[in-house]
Symmetry: C2
Subunit: 348 residues, 2 copies
DNA sequence: TTTAGCACTCTCGTCTTGAGAGTGCTAAAT
DNA sequence: ATTTAGCACTCTCAAGACGAGAGTGCTAAA
């Protein structure tokens, strides 16, 4: 695969870069003009032909300029842009924006997803950090006078779970409060497994609530995503490959429904590695809906403690050179945030 | 204004109905065919001319069919569809969908906004119910070992506020816990004003936290919206008036940013009336961005206790006959939800 | 190995043209 | 006094014609 000459590599990158910017097929002449090379257009044409035969470029029709194939993008990404870093001014801008408002995780996520959308000019998505083995901190039970009870469970590290539950038989606020007190004494500081291992005498009400509570504490691992935040759908919408295309719009719909995201983010869970940026070009055969699209994904957080995922979605013709470092940088930023709030590290 | 003959009213409704369905200018002949009236096309033309002079219809160009003007839509809405109710099967479907999963407010909102989007074929938005004068229930302070502290405040009624705060000087978890205990004793069951009126002796730490806490309890009234939920952007995207139009896309962007929503929902706060459906056609002069669009809005909840807002956004050519009753019905449904959880009423 | 030259192909914008839909008006019919 | 038939007129829209332009592949010379 790596039998490309230096000049072929150069021309490949130039074609990819130009096409990413203009969305127009790139001709041999155009390249000379834009990057004023001192070779002739015929030479470029010959090299282009070689690259076409290697499957890295193709022509929309027989006498048009070249556009990259999926493999072309892949080559470009792995050989040229993957290791690049974000320029310092950009890092500074993002950091500045990011540390503007810090109130709660919710708002932080909103901010992060919006920053990511703006810098990538694509649709961005983030899942809230999810504690992997969280331990119990405090329980609050709030009666609503019927059999409906609001349960608020606070975990160490600050995650808050809420659930409305219906009791088998009505209970007064006093009963609920004493049950909560009891459970708070028994469970405090323990993980779900630890609580399970040390059986304790308790009444029906307490037992019922404990069951639900433990369910909540562990079920988070199943869905593998706290909350899903989504922004910048309209960015990708203004890309030429998305106007006027019906199936592109269907893809967008699947995105908005979050069902595609689930599958996508599941991929990042598998590898488990935090801070590694994955690039999915054209769905890679796995995702029919993403044929024309690309996704840049990463996991953030502290493995084994609390992690989340983030990513960027756009046309295959997205700016990898900008988006890969951006995703990486945001992942680092969010990892820092997690370690501050979970471990109490000082901000840098 | 009401000097329209019965036949003119009929023809107006038929034009509006047909245009809403087809997005094509409606000709005199087309109306005869579709609704087989037993009058001639010339008669229809005469009536159409009268309606054009009354400012209810207009022609895109001199020899085309008619389309409704903003006033035309307004007449149609106020005279014909405003009082209609949702057909029973639809109500049943929605109710069924709505009561499928009930876990916490968060999920309920997600479900509601998605149902609304699907039934309206438009973009839908809902704000979480916000307690208007909430009283204190429980405070939890979680140290992260630095000067950063996570504050979790639970209000009566079940609203949960989270905030990360930075202390002037470091405090241990023990200090934080005792501060929280103290504040819990002092504040429990009281509203922000009541707490303010009864000054109590307390140390610096407690005083600082109390200030922040009271700020949180009252600031909710300012922004007038708990959380904002948005869905169905892609619905309005597939409408013909939105493909290929740049300023339509800009409007959509403003929508995604939630800034337009703020202004829009502020309108519903003013009137305060719960369950009244408001229809905003073409921005009504107030909203430049909504020139081609319409919005159907309502407030839900229990006035003086807890309320939220919901609405639907789409092209001016949206199906009012479906969306107005749908918004009304969803408002009722959500009001019921609020009264269940806040007042403890049994579900219907 | 590179480059100049050339014939060839394909797209795209512009222009023309004709069909079709719809109107407004006038005069006849009810 | 309405309603309707008839008609001339206007405007859009789809289809075809056509030339400019961009880009290619190939061959032969440098």
């Amino acid at each position: 695969m790596d039998e490309l000459t230096e000049r072929q590599k150069l021309i490949l990158t130039l074609v990819v870069r130009d096409y990413i910017e203009t969305a127009q097929p790139v001709g041999s002449r155009r390249i000379l003009e834009r990057f004023n090379l001192d070779i002739s257009s015929a030479t470029v044409r010959n090299e282009m032909m070689a690259l076409s035969e290697a499957g890295l470029l193709r022509q929309p029709h027989s006498s048009a300029g070249r556009i990259p194939t999926e493999d072309g993008y892949r080559y470009f990404v792995t050989h040229f842009v993957y290791q690049t870093d974000l320029p310092e001014p950009t890092r500074h801008t993002i950091t500045h924006q990011f540390y503007q408002a810090r109130q709660d995780v919710e708002q932080w996520m909103h901010l992060a997803v919006s920053i990511l959308a703006n810098h990538s000019h694509a649709a961005s998505l983030i899942t809230a950090p999810h504690a992997e083995r969280a331990s119990y901190k405090h329980l609050e039970l709030i009666s609503t006078q019927g059999r409906q009870v609001l349960m608020v469970l606070v975990l160490v590290g600050g995650e808050v779970l809420q659930q409305i539950l219906t009791l088998a038989e009505p209970a007064s606020q006093e009963q609920l409060s004493s049950a909560a007190d009891r459970l708070n004494q028994i469970c405090i500081g323990r993980t779900a497994e630890e609580i399970l291992k040390s059986p304790t005498q308790m009444n029906n009400l307490e037992q019922d609530i404990l069951t639900l509570l433990l369910g909540d504490m562990t079920s988070g691992d199943q869905r593998a995503s706290g909350q899903m935040y989504l922004d910048g759908l309209t960015n990708v919408l203004s890309e030429p490959e998305f106007v006027e295309s019906t199936d592109a719009r269907r893809t967008l719909r699947r995105f908005e429904e979050r069902s595609l995201l689930q599958d996508l983010l599941a991929r990042t869970t598998g590898s488990g590695a935090v801070g590694i940026v994955q690039v999915l070009i054209g769905g890679e055969g796995e995702f029919e809906e993403l044929k024309q699209c690309s996704v840049v994904l990463a996991r953030y957080g502290i493995p084994g403690i609390a992690t989340g995922a983030l990513g960027v979605f756009g046309p295959m013709r997205m700016s990898y050179a900008r988006n890969i470092p951006t995703v990486r940088f945001m992942a680092d930023l969010l990892s820092g945030l997690v370690s501050e709030t979970m471990l109490g590290d000082e901000p840098r």
